[in-house]
């Protein structure tokens, strides 16, 4: 499997490169950009990030644990105050809410670390420091006989430089 890198100057050119490569049947694409660009995300069409599921799990865990901890403590050391129930649900809502946010946030960031950093830590041989400056990179994985076609498509999409990175 070879990788062909095309370097572009604008996000609009990058979007058009993605469209033409996908139109020509190239499915394995990776794009580097200095900023998140909605058009690129739409063109790649990878669906929503799984991070959202982990936020939900964190929030539900937090709020459940928050209420559970307070209610359990109220019955672990029961204090009779004016004949009222030991557990005071309205007062416990505050800590339940805070733990909902805390664990929701922690799970969100941990899932970013897992999906965004750990899982995608390899295979960045085509990366160039310019991609954190003002350049966009479009990397297409293809077989040896498709290299010329990929290079041609990238050049026609406005790439300032096209080269084979790995073969």
């Amino acid at each position: 499997m070879a990788k062909v890198l095309g370097i572009l100057k604008s996000p609009e050119d990058t979007v058009s490169a993605i469209h033409s490569l996908k139109g020509a049947g190239f499915a394995e694409l990776e794009v580097y950009s200095p900023v998140p660009y909605h058009g690129i995300e739409e063109a790649l069409d990878r669906g929503p990030s799984p991070v959202r599921l982990f936020t939900l799990i964190g929030c539900l865990t937090g709020v459940t644990f928050g209420y559970f901890m307070q209610i359990w403590v109220a019955y672990d050391w029961p204090l009779v105050i004016g004949g009222k129930p030991f557990a005071s649900i309205p007062a416990y809502t505050i800590i339940g809410f805070e733990l909902n946010i805390l664990l929701g946030g922690l799970f969100t960031v941990l899932s970013l670390m897992f999906f965004g950093m750990w899982k995608s830590r390899k295979g960045h041989d085509a990366y160039q420091p310019g991609f954190s400056g003002d350049l966009f990179g479009c990397v297409v994985s293809c077989h040896g006989d498709q290299i010329a076609r990929a290079q041609d498509l990238l050049k026609r999409s406005g790439c300032t430089e096209v080269r084979v990175v790995e073969s």
């Binding site: 403590v73 050391w77 505050i94 969100t108 830590r121």
Partner: protein, 446 residues
């Protein structure tokens, strides 16, 4: 809000260069500034150790005023910590693009302010080494904290806010650390390599990153409103005249955002001048922050008036006495400083000329910082010193130890901010570049 219509006139690479220039080796003036602030922090530490050794005697706290400068300063710093989340999270959700230039500095202030705020209840309890009594953990005595106490709510609220703010701040910094890693050539390259966590700016990384920022914003928005509400309930759930009022939560939240934005202006104006960042922190930003100040100042001013109205309308003699004392008792100067700084000093900002005059905004922001500290001082002091029974009325004068710790907290804030200036981009590179691309695309460049 005034829209930022003109694209920032540099290329994205120029934006990198301009903003990362702030990280260049420091000038002697900068080093002197850090050393001065660190020395003041050291003096504050000595005062704190003196107090820890002798007990609370060296403070001015005595019956009936058992909350003083420390709790005032705690509430003040929690308030300052609100601007970062307002600008980063709430304005992000409202898609207010002008926030991009100021959000990083505001987020840094949030983190530093909340760290300092969290220290003050510990300083206030005297026996600081017993702070963990508040934390619920299984112990041999079988005792648990009282989860119905606002002070325990505070523990959870402040710590949640601290951790969430740090995470929000760090996640936003990761792409900028990668930009710094790719440009810096000295020892800091290794530091940024670690901090960038292997960031490459791939579409897969941006996909997860964007979702994370969106969710953290969504979580932080109700959090920021809850934190100062919980702080206000430290007062409102008591029966002290002047404190026991339902207006406190929105009144405190508006005051927190008011003071936070003022602190953002106070700190960013010198940074803008010192590092030549006029092209990034532009007059439109000050114009917009001025409007936010006007809005929150109006809410705060309305709340001041409404407190007096309710005291009169309630026909409750204790409430009326407390508010008469607030305006005309021995703390009257503090009350009128509060009203002068928070209600009157922002009034010229109704004129655009004042909002776009950076020097004017800076002076106004300092007045607001002073006024907002006094607001908390007035609430605490007047409430506690004149409660129900005239025989139990008292007097409070802050001691030298308390004032030294107060001054040291400002020095600590400045020390942390100065160190931050040299370690991380003070303006969010990636967000300014995003704005640049968007502005260019709206102008039809291709």
């Amino acid at each position: 809000m005034a829209a930022i219509t003109e694209p920032i006139p540099q290329s994205p690479d120029q934006i990198n260069e301009d903003i990362l220039r702030v990280l260049e080796p420091p000038t002697p003036l900068y080093v002197l500034g850090v050393l001065f602030c660190a020395t003041v922090v050291g003096i504050g530490l000595v005062a704190f150790l003196y107090q820890t050794y002798w007990g609370m005697g060296p403070t001015g706290l005595t019956h009936p005023v058992m909350w003083g400068v420390y709790i005032t300063t705690f509430v003040f710093w929690v308030g300052i910590a609100h601007a970062g989340t307002l600008i980063s999270a709430i304005l992000f959700l409202f898609r207010a693009k002008w926030r991009n230039a100021v959000n990083r500095g505001a987020e840094a202030m949030t983190v530093f302010a909340v760290l300092i705020a969290a220290m003050f209840p510990l300083i206030h309890i005297g026996r600081v080494y017993k702070f963990y009594f508040m934390v619920p953990y299984p112990n041999q005595r079988g005792l648990w904290p009282n989860f119905k106490s606002p002070l325990v709510w505070d523990l959870f609220a402040i710590n949640t806010y601290m951790i969430t703010s740090i995470m929000f701040f760090f996640v936003g910094l990761v792409p900028d650390f990668a930009a710094a890693r790719d440009r810096v050539r000295d020892w800091r390259r290794h530091l940024y390599r670690v901090l960038a966590l292997g960031w490459r700016g791939s579409s897969e990384q941006w996909r997860h990153w964007s979702r994370t920022v969106l969710h953290l914003s969504g979580l932080s928005t109700p959090l920021v409103l809850s934190v100062h509400s919980v702080v206000s309930w430290d007062f409102a759930t008591s029966l002290v005249p002047g404190w026991h009022t339902t207006i406190f939560a929105p009144y405190f939240v508006a005051g927190a955002i008011f003071s936070g934005i003022a602190m953002v202006i106070t700190v960013l104006v010198p940074v803008r001048k010192a590092f030549g960042l006029e092209a990034y922190l532009r007059k439109e930003h000050f114009d917009n922050m001025g409007k936010l100040i006007l809005l929150t100042s109006s809410i705060v001013g309305y709340s001041y008036g409404m407190e007096y109205f309710m005291a009169w309308y309630s026909a409750n003699p204790y409430e009326q006495m407390s508010f008469w004392f607030r305006g005309f008792g021995y703390h009257w100067t503090s009350s009128w400083i509060m009203i002068g700084c928070n209600v009157l000093s922002p009034l010229p900002l109704w004129f655009r000329w004042c909002r776009t005059n950076v020097a004017w905004m800076w002076v106004t922001s300092i007045f607001i910082n002073i006024g907002m500290w006094f607001e908390r001082y007035v609430i605490i002091m007047t409430g506690l010193s004149h409660e129900y029974d005239p025989a139990a009325w008292g007097y409070y004068v802050p001691s030298v130890v308390e004032l030294t710790v107060l001054v040291a907290s400002f020095a600590l804030f400045l020390t942390m901010f100065l160190v931050f200036l040299r370690l991380a981009p003070v303006i969010a590179l990636q967000e300014v570049k995003e704005l640049w691309y968007e502005s260019r695309s709206h102008k039809g460049h291709h």
